[in-house]
Amino acid sequence: QQQVKQSPQSLIVQKGGISIINCAYENTAFDYFPWYQQFPGKGPALLIAIRPDVSEKKEGRFTISFNKSAKQFSLHIMDSQPGDSATYFCAARKAGGFQKLVFGTGTRLLVSP
């Protein structure tokens, strides 16, 4: 049972375009929603995170949009660059859960030059 559903599985975007990755959840006990970025041969690293009391958070070219009523959140990468080519994971943390995360299945992003 996948607690956090992520789509698409893979994505190809042209350089300069907008990359959009979506996640959905069911458990209303989740209180923190991070996105992790993983390059080949490396471990995931935190990219950006949001709490459900905020509808949007922006850090540079990366933006999280959060829709609490729909239980959905998404990552937008503006002006996508070849260096953004990586696998992206959304995740969710239960309140009181010792920082434990439930991860989505990942999206492999390829930004073509």
Binding site: Q6, Q9, Y32, P34, G41, K42, G43, P44, A45, L46, A49, R51, F89, G96, G97, F98, Q99, K100, L101, V102, F103, G104, T105, G106
Partner: protein, 115 residues
């Protein structure tokens, strides 16, 4: 500052063999985690620890054991390896929830193949 270090980086085992994966962190983090990553399944939590001497089961604990005898180390053991345990294993660590929203810091993984 090394962060989270995992050893070994690669290993091939035969079915039934045992081995231990070592994770070491130098950030004085309270919490440590072991995940496995399989294609199309994301990262799944195997076991975790919220402090020295304490461990707890995660989402997929069967076939694995862990120990945290020292705060900086978290060991993952496979007692009798099975082909289904072929995976990439990641260790992570983080500050306590008492510090607020904190990221997990990951090592670069151990690629384990079981024949």
């Amino acid at each position: 500052n090394a962060g989270v270090t995992q050893t070994p980086k690669f290993r091939v085992l035969k079915t039934g063999q045992s081995m231990t994966l070592l994770c070491a962190q130098d950030m004085n983090h309270e919490y440590m985690y072991w995940y496995r990553q399989d294609p199309g399944m994301g990262l799944r939590l195997i076991h975790y620890s919220v402090g020295e001497g304490t461990t707890a089961k995660g989402e997929v604990p069967d076939g694995y054991n862990v120990s945290r005898l020292k705060k900086q180390n978290f060991l993952l053991g496979l007692e009798s390896a099975a082909p289904s345990q072929t995976s990439v294993y990641f260790c992570a660590s983080s500050y306590s929830i008492k510090v607020g929203d904190q990221p997990q810091h990951f090592g670069d993984g151990t690629r384990l193949s079981i024949l």
